[in-house]
């Protein structure tokens, strides 16, 4: 028997902007809500907390990031070890990572928000985030315009491909995870000792 629902030819060719499957989108919505909620509660939607970090006065941002990295890292490597998840590694391209990183940081100081915390700031009614977000769209376009040239130049310099610390150091992943967990936890204790906020 022919299922009429399946007999209908569905095509996305006419859609100007392709849409991912509903399952993917629902996951994105639920996890995005949680991410935004946590970041706002962590205070990192606030201009003065983000700038406070760059002025080395308020260490909230680094504390949140390092804690997330320790907790996330242990879980990710355990799950990956038991083949439950895939890693998603971005290639190491020394010149791009360094130059792009420095530019990103300079922009961060000027906006006072980063791409994720800017979204949170907008949600909490800090409307100046809108200016930054418009700039982020414009900057993304600028990169896309120049992407052909950049791919043939800067992005070729120091291209090491996908590279993890365990690979680079020739040490088993489990050992590096353990060392990093102890090291970062130690840094967090020291930070808390000297910078209560």
């Amino acid at each position: 028997m022919i299922d009429p629902g399946k007999a209908v030819k569905t095509t996305h060719a006419e859609q100007p902007w392709p849409v991912a499957s509903p399952g993917k989108l629902i996951g994105g919505v639920i996890f995005g809500l949680m991410f935004g909620f946590l970041l706002q509660k962590g205070g990192v939607g606030k201009y003065h907390i983000l700038l406070g970090q760059l002025l080395l006065q308020d260490w909230t941002v680094v504390k949140i990031m390092m804690t997330a990295v320790v907790v996330g890292m242990v879980g990710i490597f355990v799950l990956n070890h038991f083949a439950k998840i895939n890693l998603h590694l971005k290639p190491t391209k020394l010149a791009s990572n360094i130059i792009g990183g420095l530019l990103f940081g300079a922009g961060f100081a000027l906006i006072g928000y980063c791409p994720g915390t800017g979204a949170v700031a907008l949600g909490q009614g800090s409307w100046d985030a809108l200016f930054g977000m418009v700039g982020l769209v414009a900057g993304s376009w600028l990169y896309a315009e120049l992407s052909g040239t950049l791919k043939k130049s800067v992005e070729k310099w120091g291209d090491l491909g996908k590279l993890t610390l365990p690979d680079a150091l020739h040490i088993p992943a489990g050992v590096v995870v353990a060392i990093m967990a102890v090291l970062l936890t130690g840094v967090l204790f020291a930070l808390e000792r000297f910078f209560p906020r």
Binding site: W17, L25, F31, G32, M34, F35, G36, L38, L39, Q40, K41, G43, L54, L55, Q57, D58, K63, I64, M65, T67, V71, M73, I76, L79, I85, H88, L89, K90, P91, T92, K93, N97, I99, G101, L102, L103, G105, G107, F108, A109, L110, I111, P115, A119, V120, Q124, D128, F131, G132, L136, G139, L142, A144, E145, G148, L160, L163, T164, L188, R197
Partner: protein, 197 residues
């Protein structure tokens, strides 16, 4: 005073520019702090990373959203030109996980601010006003320019504070550790003269 000494030591060790922070005209810590402990929020984001890897096969990231929006707008004006750009060839603008994730982040930020009585509804942060005055135009110009530089840097480096700073570092990706260190060097190098000169 007891807090200033270790802060000065760390600052000097981290970056020579921070020496200018000797007599800070502005202290970011006089403004409101985070609602929740950074360790609780960081742990939450770490666990959230397990969930996004496990259920969505995606690392948390925010900057891609802005590139998608740039692509959507580009396609409205010139479909052919947009599709000819190498970046959009490799990353076609689509309404996917990364796109709805950041939209939901805005909503999550709103929910957290609303439930916590922290909905700001303001165009300028108090710390910005204390340093640069009441001009919204000045704030808009600086944030727009900052946004352009930041997004360009994020695309060149391959990610932002979320994609590299949290998701990449927890996978022990060499690119991400280089990028996040450069984010902070660039940010500190611009923020300190911006507020202390």
């Amino acid at each position: 005073m007891s807090r200033l000494i270790p802060s000065a030591v760390v600052s000097l060790a981290l970056f020579p520019l921070a020496a200018w922070a000797g007599e800070p005209a502005i202290d970011a810590r006089i403004y409101s702090g985070p609602a929740w402990s950074p360790y609780i929020v960081g742990t939450g984001i770490g666990v959230l990373s397990w969930l996004t890897f496990y259920f969505s096969d995606k690392p948390i990231g925010a900057s891609t959203f802005y590139a998608r929006v740039a692509g959507f707008i580009g396609k409205l004006f010139s479909k052919r030109h947009t599709e000819s750009l190498p970046y959009f060839k490799e990353n076609p603008p689509r309404i996917g996980w990364e796109f709805v994730f950041v939209l939901a982040t805005i909503a999550g930020g709103f929910l957290a601010a609303w439930t916590g009585g922290e909905f700001e509804n303001e165009w300028l942060s108090p710390m910005w006003k204390a340093r640069f005055g009441d001009s919204i135009a000045l704030r808009a110009a600086v944030a727009l320019g900052g946004g352009v530089v930041m997004a360009f840097g994020a695309r060149l480096a391959g990610g932002c504070t979320s994609g590299h700073g949290i998701s990449g570092t927890m996978q022990l990706n060499v690119a991400s550790w280089i990028a996040v260190i450069c984010f902070f060097i660039g940010g500190i190098a611009v923020a300190i003269p911006l507020f202390f000169l």
